[in-house]
């Protein structure tokens, strides 16, 4: 079927009256129905609710000029973002059946811009994982090959976009959970500057890292979604006062005067050769547009992975203390409250979540705090300082997003350390709270992969609040790609 495909096209067509929100929603539901059996990406779909909302939007007609950024656009939301009355489970048995009594700020903003939420997307349990396999509900599969993981933790959102079923979805990124699955599924994934998108209504994992952001088929749609959901929110104490996103107007301004730094530490050991080659080739194309590319150093990057995991697990152990069976979710009733808490938590949490809670509890406990948690925070500060220094010389930093070209289903699930290494290239920006975008830059060579050619993600990081520049550079990467990056499933969908 040929018609508006990107979120911007759908919203534009719906605002002009050339497309009805109802048709756009019916089309999205049909597409979801077609791909879900292959990718298993959805936790909850409420077709009736989505169609009712679309019918209401169609009845009310297009909004006044300048409003309705997402008018008629079907969107999925990661299963850890609260939608009033809709099951929100964080991929965990602990929250089976939980229906939030309120909307997250990002959900309110999507609705106020005319967006239509069609379902919730699968994820690693409480966003703890890099393959979406720790979900209590299902194993999501990669739209490029069902034998591959979509990455994680926002693997459901990435697979839905990569499959061509939806133009965009929301994810959350703590140490790379938007960018890494976007890279593996051939989607665009954007983690905005920490504090630019409200975390109100996002179930907390690591509060000083967590950031909601868009996954989309194009950089333009990523910018559109960020424009819609970003901005100050008094209900999030870490929201940046006065911040208003302004990322769409300058998207086409080009990057001819931009200086790009490429950290030696993020381009070498442990990274798939095909990934490094694709990123270098993309940088050469960008140079032809007038950008300058220079090598830089991030001397403390080698500590980033350890610092991230110690700090994030510590925050997780504290944040997840709220799941005690008293107010919501699972409750395993025992003879005392202490026994009830322990039995509930042991029954409700999966293996990886329990392990991270244990590690975080250890790092925060008396006698170990200074050696682990405090040390991790100092390392965090040093990684952030490396970036601050780098940004005195360059405007942006570029590296691969994922060190691996692909991850087989089941390949890493029993090896936590191997799983953590999947995040090696995304955690530095998370530690420093920087805006970071993954944009598909090429397909892998046909040789060497039993699963065929696979998408490769290039990561662009900028100084705090340089979100517009990061997206602008991502758009330039997109425009200089030598070929289209469309998954077999998405191609198949176009013929339905």
């Amino acid at each position: 079927m040929n018609g508006p495909r990107t979120a911007a096209q759908i919203a534009g067509a719906c605002r002009r009256g050339a497309l009805s929100p109802l048709s756009a929603t019916r089309d999205a539901l049909r597409r979801l129905d077609h791909v879900e059996g292959t990718i298993d990406a959805l936790v909850h779909v409420d077709s009736e609710r989505a169609l009712d909302r679309a019918a209401q939007l169609a009845k009310n007609g297009p909004p006044a000029s300048g409003e309705g950024l997402l008018f008629g656009v079907p969107i999925a939301v990661k299963d850890n973002i609260c939608i009033e009355g809709v099951p929100t489970t964080c991929g965990s048995r602990m929250l089976a059946g939980y229906r939030p009594p309120y909307n997250a700020t990002v959900v309110e903003r999507i609705l106020s811009e005319g967006g239509i939420i069609v379902g919730t997307a699968n994820m690693d349990e409480f966003a703890m994982g890099s393959t979406t396999e720790t979900s209590a509900w299902k194993r999501t599969r990669n739209p490029w090959s069902p034998e591959l993981s979509p990455g994680g933790s926002s693997g459901g959102s990435a697979a839905l976009v990569g499959s061509g079923a939806l133009p965009a979805a929301l994810g959350s990124d703590t140490g790379g959970s938007i960018r890494q699955p976007a890279a593996l599924c051939g989607a665009v994934g954007f983690k905005p500057t920490y504090g630019t998108v409200s975390r109100y209504g996002l179930v907390a994992f690591g509060s000083s890292f967590d950031q909601i952001g868009p996954l989309s088929a194009t950089v333009g749609d990523g910018a559109l979604l960020f424009q819609a959901i970003g901005g100050f929110d008094r209900r999030d104490s870490t929201s940046i006062p006065g911040f208003v996103p302004d990322v769409i107007a300058g998207l086409d301004d080009g990057i001819d005067t931009i200086r790009i730094g490429v950290p030696r530490e993020l381009m070498g050991e442990g990274i798939d050769r095909a990934v490094v080659d694709a990123v270098r080739a993309s940088l050469e194309r960008i140079e032809k547009l007038g950008a300058s590319v220079v090598p830089i150093d991030l001397p403390h990057a080698e500590y980033a992975l350890c610092a991230y995991y110690v700090a994030a697990m510590s925050e997780a152990s504290s944040n997840l203390a709220r799941f005690d069976g008293v107010r919501y979710g699972l409750r395993e009733e025992r003879e005392s409250m202490a026994r009830t808490y322990a039995a509930t938590r042991n029954g409700g949490f999966g293996r990886e979540v329990k392990m991270r809670i244990m590690l975080g509890t250890f790092a925060l406990s008396a006698g170990y705090f200074d050696d682990w948690y405090a040390k991790a925070l100092r390392a965090r500060r040093l990684v952030a300082a490396d970036f601050e220094k780098a940004f005195q010389e360059v405007d942006l930093v570029v590296a691969p997003t994922s060190p691996l070209l692909s991850i087989g289903i089941g390949e890493k699930i029993d090896d936590p350390l191997a799983m953590y290494h999947c995040d090696a290239l995304t955690v530095p920006a998370s530690l420093a709270g920087l805006p970071a975008l993954s944009v598909p830059c090429a397909l892998s060579p046909s040789k060497g992969s039993p699963c065929g050619r696979l998408p490769i993600g290039l990561q662009i990081m900028g100084p705090p609040l340089a979100d517009a520049l990061v997206l602008r550079a991502g758009h330039a990467v997109e425009l200089t790609r030598p070929e289209k990056i469309v998954s077999p499933l998405a191609k198949d969908l176009e013929e339905v």
Partner: protein
């Protein structure tokens, strides 16, 4: 470095009721992970002044992104209705969450 007794102690602190099989599994995995994390103890941070909170954007005051006055005055504001908040548990009565008696 970390033995079974310590795993049981951490599980108690974390309110997790692990069985013997889980204790064995977590002991082995935690040992391996902590051995890798040990790398941060090599970090030369002697010149890093001040407290560890500087690394945490939730707490730091130097970064441009962090502003003073994040805490609002302690005033009662409209909130969600109690009925909506109690709707996610079957253990409620008379507008309260019901738990076992904690103080004997």
């Amino acid at each position: 470095m970390i033995d079974h007794k310590e795993i049981v102690n951490i599980a108690n602190l974390a309110s997790l009721d692990l069985d013997d099989e889980e204790v064995t599994l977590y002991a082995s995995r935690l040992r391996r992970i902590l051995a890798f994390f040990q790398k941060i103890s090599d970090l030369d941070d002697e010149n890093e002044e001040g407290d560890a909170d500087r690394g945490n954007p939730l707490l730091c005051k130097e970064r441009d992104l962090c502003h003073e006055g994040r805490l609002r005055p302690d005033r009662i504001e409209p909130s969600l209705p109690p009925g909506a908040l109690l709707a996610n548990t079957e253990f409620s009565a008379d507008g309260f969450f019901v738990v076992k008696k904690v103080i004997e």
